[in-house]
Symmetry: C2
């Protein structure tokens, strides 16, 4: 592929990193983005969105040599802190020692990646270019120009679709035979809220953890920003008795937050304004197969596997697409068709696995994170894993701190869950959880 | 809705029947079709396609008063006849007495329905109109004219999308929030072949049954036509060792058919020509939810639930959409939003159920229809059902000869399968199947 002229459609996180990695192989890379250059545009309110970078993401960033630069604009979170109805806190470490996930602003990260990509002579950004169609036989893309809607046409050897959950590139593939596709919405949506910084610029809560208010049918979370504020997200039913639809007046918002998130309310001076002016967004899971069209088009990131945000793996899995692609690149670089097919074949089951894990984790976060049995289960797992690290890596660690394939992590997690179901069924487990016989039981089941 | 001006997009079987039923309620109905009028066009080779009409389809047709006219252009098939590798035949009745499914040509049926619809003053067909987009706030449809590609715009109170598996109307809904959608291709495709009529115009095999050549990983079927010919369909893997991809020379086709469908070859004078000139088509399952967009758009037929053809229910389920819609019509006719929501809510699970049943029946037809255990299972079921008709209606009969909701039939079928699994596990069941203790066993399990 070295000599090829390629297009990357979508200048988000995955698109910008991919452009750099392709450029480093010597390709001529045009990156198209339907929006204006976000480095020149004003921030769009209510959708700042914080992300949690973890090991998979950093590994991909390090391929481009960017990992330290990105670490510098992020805040480590070593565990989750659960806030119950009365404001009592429970802490749970994510991993061991210094294992952490890193809170970073999507906008800042994207700008940084664009600036770094701009340093490559063979990467060229074209903003205000909305992909309208692709003629697959000739691999010619039709773009509509932002304001004038004038059409431009460009042809490429290969086209990479990194244009997100509502990908136009994928829309073209969807019309080809044998392309499997699904989009599934959760009945819940989300809305961004905000805890501003203290007057002295410090954070109003512990900044080195992810805060969760688990409430059964819904939840709120908060992630720290560099400027002392927290980005807060309410995940909530779209319709029904307690929902975005039903909580529709100032009074109801105030009552609801006072009774449900009492300890958070003092941190939210603009709650009512935020609630009514910020948009309500939906939560969709996108799957497709294959991710490629012959040797012409390849989908990566949300374009091929958009997932719900509850495992913090949306961005990480998209960035990992890039590192996995380049791990396979050398073996197949003279046969793009083989490269694309091999990548799709390997990566589709991993995309499906992390989609399943993310859906499951929603239940865990909102429902179980405040539950006694759940916390004990985690404690026993942690103890056993500390004693026998080669025999047991907790599922969360496999997903977040390892590079084990998602599909293998999912399978291992299912085996572990069955074992822990048996352990939790032992007599008086809440009293006896620290006994040797609990460890022996796990050892007997693991074999 | 009585006074409304409505559009039906797609003049196929479901669209034409729906147009008549809406017209009978007094609505002004414009029916749009992207193809030319098929009554004036030449038949397209290799895609004639035979369908099997059964009770659900006839019930919907009878709502319009058309059932006898359609019965007159169809041929009853009372059972399936399996052809094994040596040409031995096994017959299995579909139901009791005169229960049959009716072979009919899609083209002839569609023409007939169009002619009948044309008799209604308030139904107007517009051919060569391809739906390009719908502006949902105004319910304005943009059409591209067949040859000139000139755009026309029309607005309607309600729009019914009956434009098939690759529906443009559904494509518009797919972009709205909270619209769940999936398209799944089987790894198998199909190709149409042909047994011509005998020189005297008679059929070369028994015309009153559906012929099947079950071969495990694939199968061939034949349905009778009025002119003495059979429409034959080969269902076959798209790729792999034995597949459309691998059987790619005249010699391979002849060898393959001689060794696999020996008793059919003498009936196929144009086999090689047909194999290479007829297209290879794909088999897709489409699901979505909801089927409506507010009180503006409603999807019916393949547009909302395209299924694989192995239960003979694709057309029947689409026509049944119409009868179910008008069963709910009177209750809600003054509140279109309530009507559309109630219909979607009731019908989505039934569309999913018949999709599942059709996928399962592919395994049954190609794999089990030639299997001794399978045939015995059916025989025992039939005997029990004859003795206790109120306690046991075979799944096939529920789907094909009853009006029980598909979702209920699927659930009942699952219960029956579990019972029959136990019965087939009885000692020496192949020798003792006719004993009273087998009947007693079923009676004990059914309670």
């Amino acid at each position: 592929m070295e000599e090829k002229k390629v297009a990357v459609v979508g200048a988000g996180l995955v698109g910008s990193l991919l452009a750099v990695l392709l450029a480093k192989k010597g390709m001529q890379v045009d990156v198209f983005e339907r929006r204006p250059d976000l480095r020149k545009a004003k921030a769009i309110g209510g959708r700042s969105i914080n992300l949690a970078l973890s090991n998979r993401g950093f590994k991909a960033l390090s391929l481009a040599g960017f990992d330290q630069e990105i670490r510098d604009i992020s805040i480590p979170m070593y565990g989750r802190k659960m806030h119950d109805l009365k404001g009592n806190l429970t802490y749970q470490a994510y991993g061991k020692d210094n294992e952490a996930i890193y809170s970073v602003s999507r906008g800042q990260l994207n700008q940084k990646l664009m600036n770094l990509a701009d340093d490559f002579e063979n990467v060229k950004y074209r903003f205000d270019h909305a992909c309208e169609d692709i003629d697959l036989p000739s691999n010619k893309i039709t773009f509509a120009n932002g304001e004038s809607k004038e059409k431009n046409h460009y042809s490429y050897d290969q086209i990479f679709g990194t244009d997100g959950a509502f990908s136009s590139v994928r829309g073209v593939l969807q019309k080809t035979p044998m392309f499997n596709y699904s989009q599934d919405y959760l009945p819940h949506g989300y809305k961004e809220l905000n805890f501003p910084a203290n007057p002295d610029g410090t954070h109003c809560m512990d900044k080195n953890c992810l805060h969760i208010w688990p409430r059964g049918e819904f939840m709120m979370i908060a992630l720290p920003n560099l400027d002392g504020s927290f980005t807060v997200t309410l995940f909530f039913p779209m319709k029904g008795e307690v929902s975005f639809e039903s909580i529709d007046t100032e009074e109801k918002v105030v009552d609801f937050f006072n009774s449900t998130f009492a300890d958070a309310v003092p941190h939210m001076p603009t709650l009512v304004d935020d609630y009514f002016s910020n948009p309500t967004s939906t939560l969709v899971t996108i799957r497709c197969s294959p991710w490629n069209y012959e040797d012409k088009v390849m989908l990566l990131g949300d374009a091929s596997h958009a997932i719900v945000p509850f495992y913090g793996q949306g961005m990480n899995s998209g960035l990992e697409d890039c590192s996995v692609f380049f791990e396979m690149y050398d073996e197949h670089k003279d046969d793009v068709n083989a490269l694309f097919e091999a990548f799709s074949k390997q990566r589709v089951p991993d995309g499906n696995a992390i989609a399943d894990l993310a859906l499951y984790n929603y239940i865990e976060m909102r429902d179980l994170a405040g539950d006694k049995d759940f916390l004990l289960r985690k404690k026993i797992e942690r103890k056993f894993s500390d004693m026998y690290p080669d025999n047991w890596m907790p599922l969360y660690s496999q997903v977040t701190f390892s590079h084990i394939r998602y599909s293998e992590a999912l399978a291992a997690g299912n085996r572990q869950r069955k074992i822990m179901d048996e352990v939790m069924g032992m007599n008086n487990i809440h009293e006896n959880w620290d006994d040797q016989k609990v460890i022996d039981k796990i050892l007997s089941l693991i074999k």
